[in-house]
């Protein structure tokens, strides 16, 4: 009787474990998470192989791949070629997208407000504290701005989205450059911290008078109110795929050493100033070669068939020339045999 139940339990456990053996494991940025989740779902339908992606933030993703607990790490923070060489990692850009500023003000709809880099920096420095401040009124003469306090929301965890956001503020505001700088975990002067892009969306959605920054797919999915921005050329732009494309076209991937490129504040009349690329990190000589081979098959599939899904979610797929370059990098650098 006991032996029977024991063998029954063993078979059950084996079947459960066996079913998950093909799952590719990855962890990292919340920036591309809506896209990776959709890709994983479609990939599973097409090939039967699953992807297990933990959206723990770029910082967490880098730590996870360094600890070798996952097959690939995902991060919006590009690693320099030196760091890649030192840690034995290979990095490539997977997809690009835009970061938008989201607000929660009664009577204001998406696209009603325009904000520029300097004003955004001043808000996050705590210099502009009320929605009816002169600087905001100057940018938005027709909008009905209440005299309510601005509740600043930022990321509490190590975030690639924060890195790109502060990188932009660093470029456009000398005061931000002096006081805070660009980082994945900056010393925010003021504001409330939330975990993940989803945490910031949730908090801004719940708090009247809040402002935050999230990847565009989150703003669209959570139906948050986003603002337009003034770009490097001084033109007002809306966060559209065309605007992200215009910024992304400035990237010189073929010349970038180790694919290190930051796409904030790019020139171009149509360019969205808060565009960012998100990267994948994998080992040159992985411990589990079979798992790495499976992961590369997934990324290959994503480059080949995932473009439409990406565009539906307002991400920008990598241009074909860059994809060819990336595949050459895989072939020459990642040992999967």
């Amino acid at each position: 009787m006991f032996l029977r139940s024991l063998s029954g339990a063993a078979i059950f456990i084996a079947s459960v474990v066996g079913a998950n053996a093909a799952d590719i494991s990855g962890a990292g940025a919340t920036f591309p998470f809506p896209l990776y989740a959709k890709w994983a779902e479609t990939y599973k339908k097409d090939t039967g192989n699953g992807l297990n992606y933990q959206a723990i933030g770029s910082g967490g993703g880098i730590k996870a791949i360094q600890a070798k607990t996952v097959t690939f790490g995902a991060s919006d923070i590009p690693q320099t070629a030196e760091i890649q060489a030192k840690s034995g990692l290979v990095q490539w850009p997977m997809v690009m997208g835009g970061i938008v500023a989201v607000v929660n003000i009664d009577g204001v709809k998406s696209g009603d407000l325009v904000i520029d880099g300097q004003t955004l920096a001043d808000i996050y420095l705590g210099k502009i504290t009320s929605w009816d401040d002169a600087a905001l009124k100057k940018l938005n003469p027709d909008a009905k701005l209440p005299s309510a306090p601005i509740k600043v929301v930022h990321r509490a965890d190590g975030s690639g989205t924060s890195f790109n956001f502060t990188n932009y503020l660093d470029k456009v505001s000398p005061e931000w450059h002096d006081k805070v700088g660009a980082s994945q975990s900056p010393e925010w002067p003021i504001g409330v911290g939330a975990k993940g892009n989803d945490g910031v969306s949730g908090t801004v959605g719940q708090t009247k008078g809040a402002i935050g920054y999230v990847e565009y797919a989150y703003a669209k999915q959570q139906k948050l109110i986003y603002t337009d921005m003034v770009n490097k050329d001084g033109k007002k732009v809306e966060p559209t795929v065309a605007a992200f494309q215009s910024a992304a076209s400035n990237a010189k991937w073929s010349e970038a050493n180790g694919y290190y490129e930051v796409l904030t504040d790019e020139p171009g009349a149509e360019s969205w100033p808060l565009t960012a690329a998100t990267f994948i990190l994998m080992y040159k000589e992985p411990v589990d070669k079979a798992a790495s081979a499976e992961a590369l098959k997934f990324f290959d599939w994503a480059f080949a068939s995932g473009g439409k899904i990406a565009e539906d979610l307002d991400y920008i797929p990598m241009p074909a020339a860059v994809v060819t370059q990336i595949k050459a990098t895989w072939a020459s650098q990642i040992k999967t045999k």
Partner: protein
């Protein structure tokens, strides 16, 4: 009625004397085994506690060496420049727990007194069950509920976190207080009523003094929970590494800081977080020690 049994191994028959001896031996063996197993279980607890303390200290050593005592009173928390200070998490932990207890203890004692003295009989069981259910709700559910109902009203501040903690601590203190109040001998209560005391005076002068040991124990249990609470707090406290003057500003606690930042930490950053964990351990230990001393004093005063 056999007074002779066969020894299975040798096939020889045993006398009553040998039967008794073998029975005693097997009892002794069973007793020894039971003693050893329970002793091992108790020892396991001590070893576990010791290993937790040792691993925390070993992990925190780089940060202890780098920051020394300055860690305890420095407010600056900079990941980039690798300068860390524990003052704002410690402040947040202590303040949220203190305010939570200030709100929860009077309310809990009130509920317990109501349940034992004033409540109509048909309501007693439903309310008691409701309290126990409240105690069983996982803390992350409290965090989510607080996020959706309390943060729109109060914002993500120290006050909101204290309110959530108060609601979480309430069932524990109430349940223990109620159980302890029920142990007061009915004769004492009736004697008090007999000399003309009102219900309030009976509660204050008879019930509470009689049960102070249990009530203090319950309060300390609640405080221990409040100090270590992580997920409920991290949703509603705002995670700001600053000490604001007012409770209507965001703050952070030790557990919320560790929960948010541990995964991506490394090197001195991780050591600093482990040192925060060690500090929480020390704070909880101090609170429990103070509770024990208080109880000892109370008992000595009462001549117990």
């Amino acid at each position: 009625m056999a007074d002779v049994t066969l020894n299975a191994a040798t096939g020889k028959s045993l006398s009553i004397e040998e039967q008794r001896l073998s029975a005693i031996n097997s009892f002794r063996f069973a007793d020894r085994t039971f003693h050893n197993i329970t002793f091992a279980a108790a020892l396991f607890v001590l070893i576990l506690l010791g290993s937790i303390i040792v691993s925390l200290i070993v992990g925190a050593l780089p940060a202890i060496e780098k920051f020394g005592f300055g860690f305890l009173y420095s407010e600056r928390w900079s990941v980039n420049k690798e300068i860390f200070g524990a003052l704002s998490p410690i402040y947040g932990t202590v303040m949220t727990s203190l305010i939570a207890m200030l709100i929860a203890v009077p309310v809990s004692l009130g509920i317990a007194i109501f349940l034992t003295e004033l409540c109509p009989m048909p309501l007693r069981r439903p309310i008691g069950i409701a309290i126990e259910l409240l105690a069983g709700i996982p803390s992350i559910i409290y965090g989510i509920w607080g996020f959706f109902t309390l943060t729109p009203i109060f914002g993500q501040t120290l006050l909101t976190a204290s309110l959530i903690l108060a609601i979480m601590v309430l069932p524990f203190v109430t349940a223990i207080s109620r159980d302890v109040f029920l142990t007061v001998p009915q004769v004492l209560r009736e004697a008090a009523f007999g000399v003309g005391c009102m219900t309030w005076e009976v509660a204050r002068s008879i019930v509470l003094p009689y049960t102070r040991v249990g009530v203090v124990g319950g309060v300390m249990l609640g405080l221990g929970r409040a100090l270590g609470e992580t997920m409920a707090v991290t949703f509603v406290i705002g995670n700001a590494h600053t000490i604001a003057g007012s409770i209507f500003e965001p703050a952070t606690t030790i557990s919320a800081t560790i929960a948010n930042e541990f995964q991506e930490s490394d090197g001195i950053y991780r050591a600093a977080l482990l040192e925060l964990g060690l500090l929480l351990f020390v704070i909880t230990f101090i609170v429990l020690a103070v509770a024990r001393i208080m109880l000892l004093r109370l008992e000595r005063k009462a001549g117990a």
